[in-house]
Symmetry: C2
Subunit: 340 residues, 2 copies
DNA sequence: CTGTTAGCGCATTCAA
DNA sequence: TTGAATGCGCTAACAG
């Protein structure tokens, strides 16, 4: 039978209320008494029953998610996953608010962060752009004691609590390994398409990609990265132009969004046998992979990211520690053979 | 404020105890009264607070895990993950017993299953061999109302509650896609090495592999599968013999265990530039991938599998439903670039 | 068949 | 600075 607060109280020769004060670090207890309780806790190996505590205190965790709006399919999936988590909120004792901000608008993110009342919230998660205003707004929340998790794209300069996303350098390296091997020694150029180098995830993918391609596949050169702000039309135009002007291109790595544009551009060049790797499984990219238009997709499970963010923020709000292995977001590699 | 049992009692004009009887489907309540309560539940949109219920009834979930012993690194990792989960048992209200049985011994598994007292257990998980005795023993437990989850390798002929593992056909297909593309058109033979075709996971991988290789890479023939009972020595001998006698071999797919033996055999043939794909990240396979001895590894996250099994069995014991997306075990594809 | 009552393990008034 | 008493939402004796 595991010990309860009653056992501690008896063992320490104090009342329930005093035990509770010590356990929760509340003031108004003599040094002497504190250590009496603490040693009783140690002696009996007491661990608090969190569910009972949450019941007694009627705890709910008000959480805010800040995500970019716009046509980006991945972000729409992400938002849907947050909404799904919000549906489960009573069972999980959470209360989730989704705040949509315009895409690629650091000021809007900073403003949304600053509008949050630190006392009314037990955690914040956001898809960040790596800019000074956002970093500062995040650190302000941290200073007010609010746990902040970055989602999908990290904010390395900040003091954010946790990053819920993949290792994007490794993702870029993986893309290079795949393209390099699929090209099987054929020399040429690989076009790299990105959304914005101001996004940490994009910048990291580009650097990981370049590192491996240079080191292991010297026969392949890199063109770009061209920046498209994740706009499908710009992606289409950029790729069409590159394919028209550069006959050396043997592969394309789209490390950002806008796969729709890429697919359109490729539809006119089915004869060129390009090796194409892109990110995120969406309706369009899935079809392209199945059709052999894409050769591989690198994916992050945004459902996992959202669930992880919630677990991390809740745990942090209570000062509990978490299961690291469970929070590691995997770099999913999909060929058409293992598409779920 | 979400409604409680008190609200239901008031709304239905009955006592707390009666509400509880109806909610838990216990007998001894008039038809009339039952429907009064049920309609009150519907009207107020009541959902039970599971944590409070578990507190009141001091619920614990006694779980049994049956796993093969022996030198297989993957199974050792799996056992370690179960042990880690057992450490967390107080917080998760579980009580986990690990039962180790000799590897490749269906009778031992069946015996262990039959030794379980259905009344003393709320769920069972096992790594199954697909044989009649095991299938029947599983179905007997199911008949006694015990939820049973298969772990890693499924038991398709049984009425098991859930399979915690990867889609092994897709895993085999993926291996074929990888080997096929990495061979880049070079004709030859791929040696397939398996543990035992009596294991559903191995059989499924072999069939998925063959299907894709035949359909998409007609220049590649298949030799095998040779069965090794996951014994590293047998793997080494089989591979050495095949490499010595068959100069056509350009690739190897080890869909079972015993990677140590494979690595030893390959160490004498570094000049042959073989494409090698194997399963499961372990100490040895990880090193082989980093060294370029292996070209890719397909992995299943056994920590995830164990956590999933626990969630599934607990949910099933209470008749709750679960988050399917969270329980899908991914086919991890590792190149040396994304090895964690 | 139905209701009363006393907990589960913990937090929190309100007095002392 | 400390303690007694009450309640969180639910279950389970025990009566009636």
């Amino acid at each position: 039978m595991r010990p309860t607060v009653h056992d501690i109280a008896a063992e320490a020769g104090v009342s329930l209320a005093t035990v509770d004060r010590v356990l929760n670090g509340r003031p108004g207890v003599r040094r002497q008494t504190v250590s009496k309780v603490e040693s009783a806790v140690l002696r009996l190996g007491y661990v608090r029953d969190v569910t009972a505590a949450n019941l007694a205190r009627r705890r709910v965790y008000p959480l805010v998610f800040i995500v970019p709006g716009g046509p980006n399919s991945f972000m729409q999936n992400l938002t849907a996953e947050i909404a799904a988590a919000a549906q489960r909120s009573t069972a999980e004792r959470t209360s989730i608010r989704i705040e949509t901000v315009p895409p690629f608008d650091p000021a809007a993110i900073a403003k949304a962060l600053d509008a949050i009342d630190p006392k009314a919230v037990s955690g914040v998660a956001l898809v960040a752009t790596d800019t000074a205003d956002v970093t500062e707004a995040v650190d302000r929340l941290i200073d007010h004691g609010v746990p902040v998790a970055t989602l999908v794209s990290d904010l390395p300069g900040s003091r954010r609590t946790h990053f819920c996303g993949i290792d994007n350098i490794a993702a870029g390296r993986t893309a290079a390994g795949l393209i390099g091997r699929f090209c099987s020694g054929r020399p040429g150029t690989v076009l790299v398409v990105a959304g914005s180098m101001k996004l940490t995830d994009h910048a990291e993918r580009a650097s990981g990609f370049a590192a491996v391609l240079e080191a292991e596949f010297p026969e392949l050169a890199i063109a770009g990265p061209v920046e498209t702000n994740d706009d499908a039309d710009k992606v289409r135009q950029s790729v069409e132009k590159a394919l028209a002007t550069n006959p050396e291109i043997v592969g394309i790595y789209n490390l950002g969004a806008g796969n729709r544009g890429l697919i359109e551009a490729l539809s006119k060049h089915r004869d060129r046998k390009l090796i194409v790797v892109a990110h995120e499984v969406t309706q369009h990219s899935r079809q392209a992979l199945a059709d052999g238009v894409f050769d591989a997709l690198i994916n992050q499970d945004c459902g996992h990211e959202v669930r992880s963010a919630i677990r991390v923020l809740k745990a942090r709000a209570d000062g509990l520690d978490l299961l690291n292995a469970q929070e590691r977001i995997r770099i999913d590699v999909f060929l058409k053979d293992n598409l779920p």
